[in-house]
Structures are given as C-alpha cells and as structure tokens.
Subunit: 477 residues, 2 copies
C-alpha cells in the first residue's frame, strides 16, 4: 500500500524529489532539537499543481501530510510524528518571486521563498518588506504565514497576517484556491485568507501569497533609554506613539538581569547604562523610521527624549550616531537568548497581555515565582509595544539547571500561564501551538472557541489529512 503511494508520488513530482532513504534529519528533527519524528517519505513538489496531486494521492491512500517550509518553527508543528506513516510535504522548491507590482505596493511569492529573499527582492525594487525575525535567513514565507509569524516590526506593520493580501491554497481535497489577488479591499464572502493564515498547515497548504510592500524609509534611527520602572516604560511608549506617530517602528524592553547576562557572557558588547555604577532596572530600545531625512528623524527623537526626561519616564538615553552603533544596540537586544543559553538551561515563555497591564503582571508574577521557588531568576524582555514578553525563567545561581527544569518546568509553566489567564492574556503570542502546546490550548482557550475551531477543522479536512494532531490535537477525542 505504502509502496504504491510512493510510486504514485514519484510519478507526480519526479523520482529524485521523493526522499525515503538516507539521512532525513533536516526534515524530521525540529528546530530546537526537542522532537525527532520519522517520515514515510519527504516529497518536494515543484509547482502548485504538483502539490494538489500529492494531496489527492495521500488523501486517497489515507496517509496524512505534514507541510514544511524552512522547518524553523518553535512549536514543533512541521516535523512528522514517530509513526513513520506521515508524508512530509516540503515547499522548499517552490521559491520563485512571481512578481513585484510597484504601483500596487505588492509582491507575489511562492511559499518556499526564504524570508530574506523577500526582503532583498523588495529592497532591490526600492521598497520595504517589513517582516523581520531571527530565522529570516532560513525560514520561508509559507511557514511565516502558516504560523502568523511576528518579529521586531509588528508594532508598526503587524504580524505576517496583516502583511498578507491574498493566498493561493491547496485544500485537504487537493483543490486549488487561487486567492493571490493583491486587492486591498474585497468583501465577497468569508475571510478565508485570514483563517488559513495561522492555521499551521491544518486547514490547507499555502502555496503562494501576495504580500504588502511599503516605501523604504529615508532614515531609520535607534535610541536606547534607561527607564526607572516598567510603568515608566509604558509611559514612554505612549509618549513615543504620540510624538512619532507611525514613525515608531520598534519598542523593545529589557530587564537589568537579562542585560547583565549579556555583559557577563559577551563582555565585548557595550550595554549602555548597565554597569556597577548604575542601577537602572530597565532599558528600552526605540526605533524611529522617517520618510523625510535623517536630520528630521534625529530632531524628532531628541524632542521625544527631552520630554521623556522632563516627565521622568527616562533617566538617560543615547541615540545611535550611525548604522554601526544602531546595529550594536539591536545586537545587545538579540543577544539575550544566547546569553541565557550560556548561563544554562532555562524555561521560555512567549506571552502577551494588554500593554497597560504589563507592569502589574510582571510585578505580581515575579513575586509569586520568587515566593514559590527559592532562588529563581527572572529574565524578562520583549516587544513591549505589542504587549509581548519573553518572560523566561533561569535556574537558581550555581544550581543544577537540568535538574531544575526536570523538577520545576511544569510547575513554573502552570504558575506563569495561570497568571496570564488571570490577566486575560495569551500563552502563545507569536510562536503558535504546533504539537508542543496542544494541551495548553485545551486548558486555557475558551471551550466555545475550541468548539468552533474543531467544527471548522472537521468541515475543511474531514479525513484529517493535513497536519493531524497539531493545534487542536486529536479532534475525535
């Protein structure tokens, strides 16, 4: 039976594009190396028509499909399970930029395009494609859309969903919906696009998309400010929104302990305002994108920071003098996860609450964790402008981090996620559910919403062909 299917798949995509022998680690092991599955085969179609035929063949054989882009997801949604019965459908060969439409401010790309390819193609045409995240050199736009990826520019430009005007999709029945219209307004029926985006390959396979472009800013400046408290950081954010308007394209917050890990493990990096002579509890990185000029951007930034000093919501600040300095500031921010890894194993969270409630959430949750778990160290940083914190937990200093995780990870997660629920927040702000957080979804999501999601999955994929078990788990249960 399986041999028949594999022969059929070879017939569709060509002999060399069906892999069922040799080292398939790149397709079977998840990005963080926490889960290794076994594929019946890896199939690499080269066109939308081939994707449709592959889906039809698998559906007819009762074999399920795991769609895969760059396989850089953080929630174990794109590798097969251990059964050896699932087909990995890799979109990586479908990597053409189908076209750029300058007057419509759009580009149409195939799902397997690497994110950085989109950024580069846009820039070469004189435009900005703003989606930007750590894995941009290897993640694909199909995966970005399937997981509704976030990143550092969400404050101004939104998640992947908000950057998408249309998708081309292969359904669970192997039909093709050509929805890459590039229309900015289209009220003809239900919003299938946004339903497919973020559905993690469980409702359809995105094979191409039309994405929004923006004018390249004339200047982009970065500032770094010391703020006395998270309340003051929120106040500074409000001020920056007011004064810079849509020019405010980045607002990241970092706690002193998170930054001290950077200075400890990467002493060559200069972290402004974090040293022995200074007890700044929080720092903020601001980015200002200006359609006019660098001079104008600098004047606006300086006016903002001056007012922030007057109001007391910033105590010190620097504006990067050049691109090298700006990159160095961003590099400090981006080094926190690596500094954490150097410090030892740790427990990561990707949570969001309303921006207004962040200070109270952090103060309460810090106190709770410190009370419950002696010596716990809290590494707190994230996209404050989006209400999205990476509220991470490091083992007590000098302790055995592996043992700490074994003993405490579930308890820490329960404490944190119960707090998030109490604050009306989300336990997965930008990373999605995959197979990693299926049980968290069952626990924390509204049963009414879960019921609607299950009904939709049943309606669009009644045979459970597409990425079964992910997001909603076993929906028959």
């Amino acid at each position: 039976m399986n041999e028949q299917l594999i022969a059929r798949l070879r017939g569709i995509v060509g002999n060399t594009q069906v892999l069922d022998q040799g080292d398939l680690t790149a397709y079977e092991l998840d990005w963080r190396k926490r889960s290794r599955g076994k594929a019946l085969a890896v199939v690499r179609p080269g066109s939308t028509a081939e994707v449709a035929e592959v889906v039809k063949a698998c559906a007819a054989a009762g074999v399920s499909i795991v769609p895969q882009g760059g396989n850089t997801g953080l929630a174990v949604g794109s590798v097969p399970d251990e059964s050896g019965t699932q087909v990995v459908l890799s979109l990586s060969r479908m990597n053409a930029v189908r076209g750029i439409d300058p007057a419509n401010l759009t580009m149409t790309v195939e799902a397997g395009c690497v994110l950085q390819t989109l950024q580069d193609a846009a820039e070469q045409a004189g435009f900005l494609f703003p989606l930007s995240l750590a894995a941009e050199g290897s993640c694909t736009i199909g995966g970005n859309l399937a997981t509704n990826a976030g990143g550092t520019q969400v404050l101004r430009y939104g998640n992947a969903r908000e950057l998408c005007l249309g998708v081309e999709v292969v359904t669970a029945q192997g039909e093709v919906w050509e929805g890459t219209s590039g229309l900015r307004k289209d009220n003809t029926g239900y919003d299938l696009r946004d339903l497919l985006v973020g559905s993690e390959g469980t409702l359809g396979i995105i094979t191409a998309a039309t994405m929004k472009l923006y004018p390249l800013p004339a200047a982009q400046l970065t500032a770094w400010a010391a703020v006395p408290s998270l309340e003051h950081a929120v106040q500074l954010l409000g001020l920056a929104h007011k004064q810079l308007g849509a020019g405010l394209t980045g607002f990241e917050v970092m706690g002193r302990f998170a930054l001290s890990l950077v200075t400890k493990h990467f002493p060559q990096q200069r972290v402004p305002f974090v040293d022995a002579d200074n007890d700044t509890p929080w720092c903020v990185l601001l980015e200002n994108s200006d359609s006019e000029s660098e001079e104008h951007a600098r004047a606006r930034f300086e006016a903002l920071l001056e007012q922030a000093f007057e109001l007391g919501c910033a105590t010190d600040a620097v504006v990067a003098e050049n691109i090298a300095q700006a990159r160095a500031l961003w590099h400090v921010r981006e080094s926190i996860p690596m500094a954490q890894a150097e410090e030892g194993l740790n427990i990561k969270h990707d949570i969001s609450v309303a921006v207004s409630r962040i200070p109270e959430f952090v103060s309460e949750t810090d106190a709770l964790l410190r009370k419950e778990i002696a010596g716990v160290r809290l590494v707190n940083f994230g996209h404050l402008g989006d209400g999205n914190l990476h509220y991470n937990v490091q083992a007590p200093e000098g302790g055995d981090a592996r043992r700490f995780l074994e003993e405490q990870e579930e308890r820490v997660n329960t404490l944190v996620y119960d707090q998030v629920e109490r604050f009306g927040g989300s336990f997965s702000a930008e990373h999605g559910i995959g197979s990693l957080k299926v049980h968290k979804l069952q626990k924390h999501k509204s049963p009414v919403a879960l019921g609607m999601m299950r009904a939709i999955k049943q309606a669009l994929d009644p045979k459970g062909t597409l990425n079964p078990g992910r997001v909603l788990g076993d929906i028959a249960s």
Copy 2:
C-alpha cells in the same frame, strides 16, 4: 408555536422590547428602500446574556434570526425576508462604551454603539478612532464589523477588520465566546475573529468588540490636484506614499464628468480646476496627517506637489488654508453621489482591482460600455489608494432614466463585472453581499472558495438559524 416563542422572548428581554405590532418600517425596510420584508417580531436585547437566550429560544423553535445594527447596509443584509417568519434581533440597546484603555490604545464597545459615538469617545480621551464613512451618524460598530466596512481612511488604517483586536460573539447555538481581549498578538488557534468579521451575521452575532485607537494627529491637511490622466494619478499616489509615508491618510480620485455633475446641481460649491476654461480630466484629493505640526505638514505637502509638477503627474494644485477650506474640498467629493441622484437614476458599482491596473481597467471598460450602449455616461470616482472605484453608470442625457435602468441594468452589470473578473478584481470591494449580490457571488467567486465557505457555514450554523440566505444563498442547493 410562534406565540409560544414570542412569549418566551418577552420573558427574556422584557415585554416592551419585543415589537410585533405597529409600524416596524425602521426594522423592515432596507436603507436604500429597495427591499421591504416582514418580521415575525423585532427583539431588542439589552445584554449579551439576553442575546444568547434569544438565539437559544429561536434555534429551539426553528425560527431564524436577522441580526441588525443601524440598518444602513447597502447590500440588503439586515432586513427580514417577506415570509413573516424571521425574528429581527436589534443590537441597538447594547450601546455602552465598556472602556477605554489609553496605554493599550484600545476601546471596548458594545455592538450597538453608533460609529460617531466611538469617534467622539476616542477624541474626548485624546485619541483617534479612524473608521469613517457616510453613515457614521447612524450605523453601528457591530454592523461595521459584520460587513467589514471601509470608508475614507482605509488607505492608512485599513477596513473595520484591521481596526479590530477582538470580538465577543454569540454563536448559532447561543453560546458566548468572550474574545474581546485587546491583545495585539495572540497565536492560539484559528483566527475566529477575522472569520466572524465580515460574515454579515451568518456565522455568529457580534455583541461587543475591542477596537484599536491611534494618537490624534497634530495636523491634518487636505490638497486638491488636477492630473492629466489616471496613469498620472497612480504615479502621484506612488510619489505621495514615498514622500509622506504613513502621513498619507486619504487619496481620492474624481473624473471630470462626476465633478461637472456637482457644479451643475450644486452651483454654490466651488470645484477647483473644473470649469469652462479648463479641461482637466481628473482631480485628486489628498489628505496628509502629521504627528508634528501644521507647519511641517504644509511644508511636506508643498514639497510633494512641487515634485509632482516637475514630473508632470499634476498640472495644478491647491492646499486648503484652513479647516473650512478642507471641509469644502471633502464636501465636493462627498457630494458626487447626491449630484448623481439629482441627475437621475443610475447604476452603481463598488469594485476593486489592483491599483496598478486601474487606468487600463477604466480605459477598456469605458470603451466597451460606450460601444455597447449608445450615449451612456460614466461617473467615475473613488478610493484610488485602495484600488476601489465607484464605477457608476448614468443614463444617456435627456433619456428616460427609469426605462434605461429597466432595460440595461443587468446588461451593464454583466459587462462591468465580467471586466472586473478579467482584471482579477472584486465586484464588491466594501459593501458586502447581503441578499443583493448572492447571485453575483455564485457567478464570480472561485468554486473552491465557495465550497470552503459553505462547509464553514454548515459547521458553525448547521440549523441555518443565523441570517439564512444571505451571503451564500440557500446552501442546501
């Protein structure tokens, strides 16, 4: 049976909030007075819990529900059919602003809030709620969300969907999903919010929503430019995007004939560059919102227009000197539909194509209509920045307009919508489907997309309780 249901409804919402006698015109007649239905009763619940109980009672009795906000929709989606068997569920009593969260830049409102109430409440709190459209004095936010309303600020801020962070919904089973979280990032499962928004009351009843707020701009300036052709208008749009960035909040285009109707029927209005001495074929209205100052906004506008003159994409331009002048310019734009009505009955379209294809679409479609229908007059204006045109058709001069419509409306629609389909556009850019365009949806929408929509409707409302027949028509067929 019906009497039992009505008694039950009286028990839920109170005696006086069930209307089944007297003049129910306001609930039964559509906004454009094209369709009059007959309600079994009008029910006006005062809370989400009451809405849920009403839905349960109707579903149990096998009676269908037509949700209604301000009843200002343009596609006949919010009035009952003629059978006298449908219950109109009016959300108008649920009109509380539940709260404004300044630091989160959100407001949470009940579905029955009039749009203008939101705008005013936001402004009083020092913020902008940007959704703005002609019916804003009587339409409700619930209706705006149910139809994904557009309006004049879409270019910068998006449709109603893009302004919404979360919805509270009563399902077809009378369950309540409390999704008004105000989170800017939340990747926990399928995007039910965006599916419900724009579903025209057929998948659930939106009872409340959390909407985005923006800082009030420091200045808002309006300019009016004469442009030699639609190609030049598109070029000017690209230039304005580049130079003003997110400051560009409006870009409307108006054809000479549309403007000449304004000067003919409202001679007290001054229409720049449209008179006997001037043969400007197109005018453009631009709006620039600035976070800095009026002086800065004016300098930016002048720099833009100067470059436009140099490139030849504008031949003349004025910038409004004050708010009164700006209002007068907008008033010209908004007077076009009324001037059309004064000129006589006409055929309206609400179409979109990619911005880049608008000039070719208009030139081809104008030629086609003129060839097919002798003397036809084309009234062309709309939101060029969104690729959305109100491509309207006026009867030949001096002819019998009523007879023209009787004889030609279907033919004109077919010619126009077939052209729209050929250009990959939408036959309903911002007005939705309702019951008016059900057949157009069947004809022009991808059968694959229609199949997915029907499956979703069946899954979420298997008994067909909510607004049956709207959007998808009789889905059993």
